[in-house]
């Protein structure tokens, strides 16, 4: 053969990948997966939520592999997710069966069942804790045993799996209209691409797998001025939901034959949004509507923002971008937005040459 081809690309890639591995391991510190699942709760929850794959173990591998880069970890899990067969759908989950760990309402001081603060950053002072520099296992152990030995005075209602929903109270007061259950089978957005106008099931799916930052920002915009939602958090719950699947071969739909497949931790928010409605006498009345948000793990800001956007899109007047379903739903996915932004790093010299040609010709034309 007479020619020499410079095979730069393949080699350059190999070297770049080696360099990346070097960056991850050169300090010779081993990060155990257990350490990630045990100590990086917030990150694991965020990654599971954005990748819409519930597995703390897989999330921990992704976090380790991506050196804690959330965008990259989500990408890894999503790519893995699309190779997995989806054999079953679970039974519909009623969230009032949640094993509640935390439950607050901003609407009523005394909610039936009481406010349960649970674990939250909300009541901490955001001061750097320099004691963490010298934290020891012995110290941790001591703290935990001390904590567990503390006597907790329980008041009432110890059953945390049957707490009533706050919204039921308002419904009793007729401040919420009675809405019939919509039991239409939801459309799976991972099996059928979004077609507009969308259904609420599609919107909620896209919102719950949305990038935390993007969802939060758009939710913020909607309540700050570029939207018309002024919600009160009726109820925010964090807790575990049991999941069941029906017997795969059994003909009868008897729930007695269901299989329990585990539980997932979720954050659920019901926001109350005042709206004015016309009554039978053609006069305006105030009423509440609900904005609903739910996501994997403890991601309270995201769940609240989802509830705002859910309502905003339900109104859908398009006076504001936050009411425009195409604007919101097509731009909040982490893998899609980061992918398209980062593709700008790819060479564009054919397209650029084409642009140059066009500009030069215009210039020539105007100089004539």
């Amino acid at each position: 053969m007479a020619y020499v081809a410079v095979k730069g690309g393949a080699e350059a890639i190999e070297e770049s990948i080696k360099r990346l591995t070097y960056e991850r391991i050169h300090a010779n510190e081993l990060l155990e997966l257990e350490t990630i699942t045990a100590t990086m709760r917030g990150m694991v929850d965020q990654v599971m939520s954005e990748s819409s794959l519930y597995s703390e173990f897989l999330a921990a591998i992704a976090i380790k592999q991506s050196e804690g880069n959330v965008e990259e970890a989500v990408f890894l899990l999503r790519a893995h997710r699309s190779t997995l067969p989806r054999t079953y759908y679970t039974r519909v989950v009623e969230t009032n069966t949640m094993a509640v760990e935390r439950r607050i309402s901003a609407s009523f001081k005394d909610i039936p069942g009481g406010q349960i603060l649970g674990a939250s950053y909300d009541y901490t002072h955001r001061l750097m804790d320099f004691d963490l520099i010298g934290e020891s296992k012995a110290g941790m152990k001591e703290w935990v045993s001390q904590f567990l030995s503390e006597e907790i005075e329980t008041t009432t209602n110890p059953d945390l799996t049957t707490l009533p929903k706050v919204v039921e109270y308002l419904r009793g007061e007729k401040l919420f209209s009675q809405i019939e259950d919509d039991n239409t089978e939801p459309i799976d957005v991972t099996k059928q691409s979004l077609q507009f106008p969308t259904t609420r099931s599609e919107r909620l799916q896209v919102l719950t797998r949305g990038q935390t930052g993007a969802v939060t920002s758009l939710g913020y915009a909607a309540i700050r001025g570029f939207g018309q939602v002024h919600p009160t958090v009726g109820e925010l719950r964090v807790g575990k939901l049991p999941l069941w699947i029906s017997h795969p071969t059994e003909q009868s739909d008897d729930e007695e034959n269901d299989y329990y497949i585990g539980e997932i931790k979720v954050t659920e928010v019901e926001s109350f949004v005042p709206v004015s409605v016309q009554n039978e006498n053609n006069t305006e009345e105030m009423e509440f509507e609900i904005g609903y948000g739910i996501c994997y793990g403890q991601n309270e800001t995201k769940a609240i923002a989802i509830s705002i956007l859910d309502h905003s899109l339900e109104v859908g007047k398009k006076e504001y971008p936050t009411q425009d379903e195409e604007f919101v739903l097509l731009h909040i996915d982490s893998v899609e937005s980061s992918g398209f932004i980062s593709h700008l790093k790819l060479p564009h010299y054919v397209t650029f040459q084409s642009k140059l040609d066009s500009m030069r010709k215009i210039k020539k034309e105007s100089e004539k």
Partner: protein, 290 residues
């Protein structure tokens, strides 16, 4: 843990589903068929649409060529080729005529394609009307109603502003007298290669979740006015500094020693084969891949 990946990554059900979208696309030339685009091991915007098509049509006998902006050695082309090869074991090539499937980003090779080949183009924005109408709901309607005034107005406004049309890559085309289509950001120079192409051309937009197609021997006309005909990029009086080819799409390079502008075939594999024919020894560099 199971780590065995399936042939061509996807399970057969997924491939079948994508092939159904492709078949629909072939049946309605230029029409964008929505499909349940999967997340891939490469980034959205980096060719996931093309990759999903390639993976769902590839068989063990196929020979694959992947190019990115004309080059077989560009990092992304290498990466895609590596992934397909790793999950299928099919032979890869840089020789255009040897390939049965050619996946490409923004170029159609200089060597004419044949009936035996399938061209897979990666598409960033499949909607030719997106720049005049951001809403998908509305553009879908415009296509249904055969209302392409937006595309024509865009060209007309350019003529009013600049005295001529000012499109660069991705110049819209009319397919089979029905659908206006984005040919993906190929240079205008390549538009004519789609018209009456012997090879089947498939377009995949992963992030936008659309697949469309040009079946062999389909009429494809670049949008233009009678008095302002369609113009391609011109390289008059210029030739490749290595193989002296003319009538090809050239890259503009700056000679770092002399500071003068030089030109070189954008299609690196074409350039190599030209050199090979003439028995010339040269180093064909892929500048961005170093």
């Amino acid at each position: 843990m199971q780590l065995q990946t399936h042939f061509a990554l996807f399970d057969e059900g997924s491939k079948k589903e994508i092939r159904r979208a492709i078949l629909k696309g072939v049946a309605i030339p230029g029409y964008q068929v929505p499909f349940a685009s999967r997340e891939m091991p490469i980034a959205r915007g980096w060719g996931t649409g093309g990759l999903q098509i390639t993976l769902s049509i590839i068989g063990k006998q196929d020979v694959l060529k992947v190019i990115d902006q004309g080059s077989d050695e560009s990092v992304n082309a290498v990466n895609i080729k590596k992934l397909v090869n790793k999950t299928t074991g099919v032979k890869t090539t840089i020789e255009t005529s040897e390939a049965t499937i050619i996946q490409s980003r923004h170029r159609i090779p200089e060597v004419p394609l044949t009936e035996e080949q399938i061209m897979v183009l990666q598409v960033p924005i499949p909607e030719p009307l997106r720049w005049v109408e951001p809403s998908e709901f509305k553009t879908k309607k415009l296509h249904a109603e055969n209302d392409y005034s937006g595309a024509w107005l865009m060209l007309f406004e350019q003529i009013m502003k600049y005295g001529k049309t000012a499109t660069d890559a991705d110049h819209p085309v009319l397919v089979h007298d029905r659908y206006v289509m984005a040919p993906s950001p190929i240079p205008r120079f390549d538009n004519s290669k789609i018209h009456q192409s012997e090879a089947l051309i498939l377009f995949g937009a992963g992030r936008e979740k659309k697949i469309y197609a040009i079946p062999p021997y389909t009429n494809v006309v670049s949008l233009a006015f009678e008095d302002y005909p369609f113009e391609v990029e011109t390289f008059d009086g210029k030739q490749c500094r290595l193989c002296s080819a003319t009538n090809v799409f050239l890259d503009e390079l700056v000679n770092q020693e002399t500071g003068s502008t030089e030109y070189q075939c954008n299609d690196t594999s074409y350039c190599l084969s030209m050199l090979n024919e003439d028995g010339i020894t040269a180093e064909v560099e892929v500048a961005h891949a170093r």
